[in-house]
Each structure stands twice: as structure tokens, then as C-alpha cells.
Amino acid sequence: MSRAAAFYRPNRPLLVYAVLYLAFLYAPVALLPVFSFNDSIYAAFPLQGFTTQWYADMFADEAMHGALWNSVKVGAVAAVFATILGVFGAKAITRFRIRGVKPVLGVIMLPLVIPPVIMGVALLVLLSQSGVQLSLITVTIGHILICVPFSIVTLMASFEGFDKSMEEAAADLGDNSWWAFWRVTFPMVFPGILASLLLCFTISFDEFIMAFFLAGTEQTLPIFIYGQLRFPQRLPGVLALGAMILTATFVIVFLAQWLRGRSPGVAQSGSE
């Protein structure tokens, strides 16, 4: 028996491990929708009966509407700005010969490993020292900061996926760099841009800690949810909201991942 065949044989202990791992990861999350339809204000077994009352209550809540709208605004603006910066960064990193690009990239990626609490406090200190009023704008700034690394990583894959000679061909055919970007680079990396927008939006939409420090009187959805938890009778409504956010986030992230693998340039380089 060859080593390769042995290597590809199904490995039962590993399979068990994988199943347990996924169960541990997602079982608690799966409980959320289950309890959100449970006819009881306590999130506990045994289940009492099916109801959609918590969803109805939540939809009727004016404060929730305001928080949801705030989160959508912050998420959309943060996603657009982070993606624009991501396009610049990814293009620079993948296209130009830059001295010391590795350390620069490291600094850009730093927000991925710095705890959000530290980042939040640091930004809070900076902003209040410079006399900036806390508002949704400051939350957005904080969110752009943590979204940019994700945007750059997503877009770098798109830029690396297509041949530099495409852009050279555009220049050769009479386009200056601005036209070449719009007519060639942008359509080629468009799936990556879309993926980055969706990813950044979900990151901002779900983000709590930075928003907690940087929001003024207006609250985003995660802050609203946190506030609701002080009232036990509001818990089922929060579960209903959580189940909906969860579903939306899953859909968007899967969409983003799918788009990322679909760049025309990626298919192109594979055939060469």
C-alpha cells in the first residue's frame, strides 16, 4: 500500500474530532433561534410551545428601529470608506515595488490583533483630547480602522489573481492610469470589491466594543441589545433579533466568500 493511499484514508478519530468541534462552535448559536420561538420569557428547557410573539414585539419597538437604522448607516459608510482605502492599499502592495512593504503591511494588519477594548479606549482618549464630540461619526471612524485590514486582505487576493499585463495593455492602448483603472482594473476586481463591502458591513454591524466606547447618545444595534439584557422580560425579543442578525450575517458572509472566488481574473490566471 502506498503512502499516499494511506494518507487519504478516512481517519475516524479526526472525523469525530471535527464533528465535536463544529457542534461546540455552533450548537449555542443554533439554540438562539430555537428559544426565539419558545413561548416563555425564560430561555430554558423544556420548551413551552411555539410563538412568533417575540418577533412581533421586536418589530414594533421604536428604539430598535432607531438602533437598526444607525447600525445600517454606520455599517454602510464604514464599508465604503474601508473598501476605498482597501483598494488603494491592495493595489499599492500588489502592483508597485515599495521598499519595506512587509513592515508597512504589518502595521496595517495590526488592528486584527490589538484587542478592541484597547483600540476603543485609545480612540476615545484621542478624540476627547482633541475635543471631538462622540457620535455615530466617531463610531464609523473606529469601524473603518478595524475594517481596513479585512478589506485589504480580501482585495489583495483579487489584485494578485489577475495579470499585471492587463493594466499594461490598457495603458498601451491609450488609457492613462485613471482610465485604465476604470476600464480594466475595476471590472476585474469588482467581485473582490463587493466581497469587501459585504464583509466590512457585517464586521461593523456586529461590532460592540468600539461602538460602546465611541458612540455618544445614539446607539447602534449591538449596544441596544446589550441595554435590553438588563430587563429579563426583554430577553426573548433579543433572542428573536439575534436570530435575524445571525441569519443575515451568515448569508452576507457566504455571499462575500462566494464572490471572492469568482473574479474573472482568478479564472484567467488558472488557465494560463
Partner: protein, 369 residues
């Protein structure tokens, strides 16, 4: 100043990448409507030189003139050149017609006129009616044609081609060579063609620049490069060649008598070379300039005896290796009319004679090889 009749003038152009000199003081003049090839092994600087003509690289020293205008300050999109890229760089998000029409943006043509130009360009490369095809539905040869149409539609002063036939299989490549040559002659556009394939360069070009280590070693017609190479590197790169270390023993008028290891005396035409008796040189002989015979025949200027070591029958010609006493390597001989083995008695191991004329000998300066 480009004062002569050259259309594209490369004047002492040097390009360095860090410590590496990619292109080293290259001086080339290319005439209008000429099919010019930059030939050399990979890493010889030919592609870098082409990219400097297109504007993707800027020379560290020297200047490029196109139609009398210095172009070093011009970015690629303002140059009167267009390029066919090695991998063709067909835009995958555009169909064939949009690819070909890409360079017409600034001309702001009415739609009908633009469509007409596109169809005209596609017909020129024998892809008439292919406009609606998606670019990922094209074969390698079709991609190459689209790239050509896309470059030619802008009516460039100079068309630059970066190994455009390298990715095609042999049969298709040979067909495209003929087409490319016909296209160039009917359009009268100056072509600068980069290739590492010496046969391709010989087939296509009016003139060839043989490059090695960033230098243009010889710029001449294919015939001259083949028959009168000016250095051992060129002679070695173009076709097959036998090299013999030799010493000049005497010169008389147009003829020199050499003392070559293993050959004894060898007569050679000087061909304008000024050689002093006693000078160390290298004598080079093309395999097809040697005549193989089973017995010594009189009349030829040079003759040497050897043993047939190996023979290969290739159909249109045969290749032989003849071992000559005192030579390190066997002598390569090519002949059209010798069958291998059988009736002619040319079996491996048979004693044979090689003869050749004095004007077949190419005299080259000794250099480290």
C-alpha cells in the same frame, strides 16, 4: 540626434535593475517598415528593451527616438507604439469586439464607424464575424489574433511583439509566422519582434539583433548573421557550428593559412579581417559546408581524415558525427544526399574524408567560451 534614415533609433540605451545591468549600452537603428527581431536567450535583455520602447520601463541612460522624436519622457499611453503581449493580455470581462475596440476610446467615433473599424481589424487577422465571442471561448491562436487586431486598430507607427508565438504549438506557429510576415508587408508598419527562437527570427525578419547579457552583439540580416557571425556567441546561438582553435601561420593576399589542432594546415578566406601571423583565433565551420566522402577527393582547399562515429537520418537531410584525431569533440556534418548505412557503405566506424572550401571558414576572435 537621429540624423540618418532610421525610423526607430535606440541610442546607447542602458537599463539597470539594482546591480544587474539588463540592457547595456545598446545602439540599434531600425528603418521604417522594417521587420526587426531582437533575438537572444532568456535573460538577455530583449524583453526589457522592448518594454522600454513601449514605455513600461525608462532607460537609465540613452534615448529612444521614434520618427525623430525622443520618447523617454512619454508614458505608454501617449506613445505611437502598440504591443502584443506574451500572454496576449486579452481582457476577460470584454468580448472580442470590445477588446479590439478598446484603443479607439479617444477617437470618439460614431458607433457605426467604430464597428466598421473593428470588423476591418478582425478581418485583417482572419477573425471576421468573431466580434460577439466571449474572450474565454477563444483558442490560443485566436487569442493571439485578437491581441494583434487590438494593437493594429490604433494604426501604430511601431508594433512591438513580445514572443507572441511562444505559446502556440509548432504547426500553428509556422502558419502564424507566414501570416505575420504577410500582414507586416501589406501594412508597411515597423515591427519589432522579440523571440528566443532563432529559426523564427530567421524566417520573419529583415534584420536581427542578436542579444546576450544585455548587449546587442550583432545587428544584421538573417543571411549575414548566419554566414558571417562576428563573434563566437552569435555563431554558437544561430544554428549549429563547429569551432576549432587555430593559429594564423601566414597570410597571403586574401587568404590565410591556419594551423589548427587536429587538422594541420587549413586555408581560409580572410574576408577583410586583418590578421597577423601568430595570432590565436577560432575557425568556425557550418556542418552543411563540410562535404563527406568515403575516399579523399582532390580539388577542395581543405581536407581531413576521420572516422564516422554516429549518423542520423532525418528525412530531408542526415546528420553525422565524425571523429578526427586530435580534436576533443567530433565534427558535426550535415548532408542532404547521403543515406545512412546500406548501399553507400557509410556505416558507423567507417573511415571518411571531410572536405571544405576556403571561403566556408569563418574566422572569429578568440574569447573565453
Amino acid at each position: 540626434m537621429a540624423g540618418d534614415d532610421s525610423y526607430l533609433r535606440i541610442e546607447r540605451v542602458t537599463k539597470r535593475f539594482g546591480a544587474v545591468v539588463a540592457v547595456d549600452a545598446v545602439d540599434i537603428s531600425i528603418g521604417a517598415g522594417e521587420f526587426f527581431s531582437l533575438l537572444g536567450p532568456s535573460g538577455c535583455g530583449k524583453t526589457t528593451l522592448l518594454r522600454m520602447l513601449a514605455g513600461f520601463e525608462t532607460p537609465d541612460e540613452g534615448e529612444v527616438y521614434i520618427d525623430g522624436q525622443p520618447v523617454s519622457g512619454q508614458p505608454p499611453h501617449l506613445r505611437p507604439t502598440n504591443m502584443v503581449f506574451q500572454n496576449y493580455a486579452i481582457f476577460p470581462h470584454l468580448n472580442v469586439a470590445r477588446n479590439v475596440a478598446y484603443g479607439l476610446r479617444k477617437e470618439k467615433l460614431p458607433r457605426q464607424e467604430e464597428d466598421r473599424r473593428v470588423e476591418e481589424a478582425l478581418e485583417m487577422v482572419k477573425l471576421g464575424g468573431y466580434g460577439d465571442r466571449r474572450s474565454n471561448e477563444l483558442s490560443g491562436g485566436q487569442r493571439q489574433r485578437v491581441a494583434l487586431a487590438r494593437a493594429l486598430i490604433r494604426r501604430p507607427k511601431v508594433l512591438l511583439l513580445d514572443e507572441p508565438l511562444g505559446a502556440l504549438d509548432k504547426k500553428l506557429r509556422e502558419d502564424m509566422q507566414i501570416e505575420l510576415r504577410q500582414l507586416q508587408q501589406s501594412l508597411g508598419i515597423t515591427f519589432v519582434f522579440v523571440t528566443h527562437d532563432q529559426e523564427e527570427a530567421m524566417t520573419l525578419s529583415d534584420r536581427i539583433a542578436v542579444m546576450a547579457d544585455g548587449r546587442a552583439l550583432q545587428v544584421a540580416s538573417p543571411k549575414e548573421v548566419y554566414n558571417r557571425p562576428t563573434s563566437i556567441t552569435v555563431a554558437d546561438f544561430i544554428g549549429q557550428m563547429n569551432f576549432f582553435e587555430a593559429r594564423v601561420s601566414e597570410t597571403a593576399g586574401e587568404e590565410a593559412v591556419l594551423d589548427a589542432a587536429g587538422f594541420g594546415r587549413m586555408r581560409a578566406k580572410l574576408g577583410g579581417a586583418a590578421l597577423q601571423p601568430g595570432a590565436s583565433i577560432v575557425a568556425a565551420l557550418r556542418p552543411e559546408k563540410l562535404t563527406l566522402s568515403p575516399a579523399r577527393s582532390d580539388g577542395a582547399a581543405n581536407a581531413v581524415e576521420g572516422v564516422l562515429e554516429a549518423a542520423a537520418y532525418l528525412g530531408d537531410r542526415s546528420h553525422f558525427h565524425v571523429r578526427v584525431a586530435g580534436l576533443e569533440r567530433p565534427v558535426a556534418v550535415a548532408a542532404q544526399d547521403w543515406a545512412v548505412g546500406g548501399g553507400d557503405g557509410l556505416d558507423e566506424g567507417a573511415p571518411v574524408w571531410l572536405t571544405w572550401d576556403n571561403d566556408s571558414v569563418i574566422l572569429l576572435e578568440s574569447e573565453r567560451r
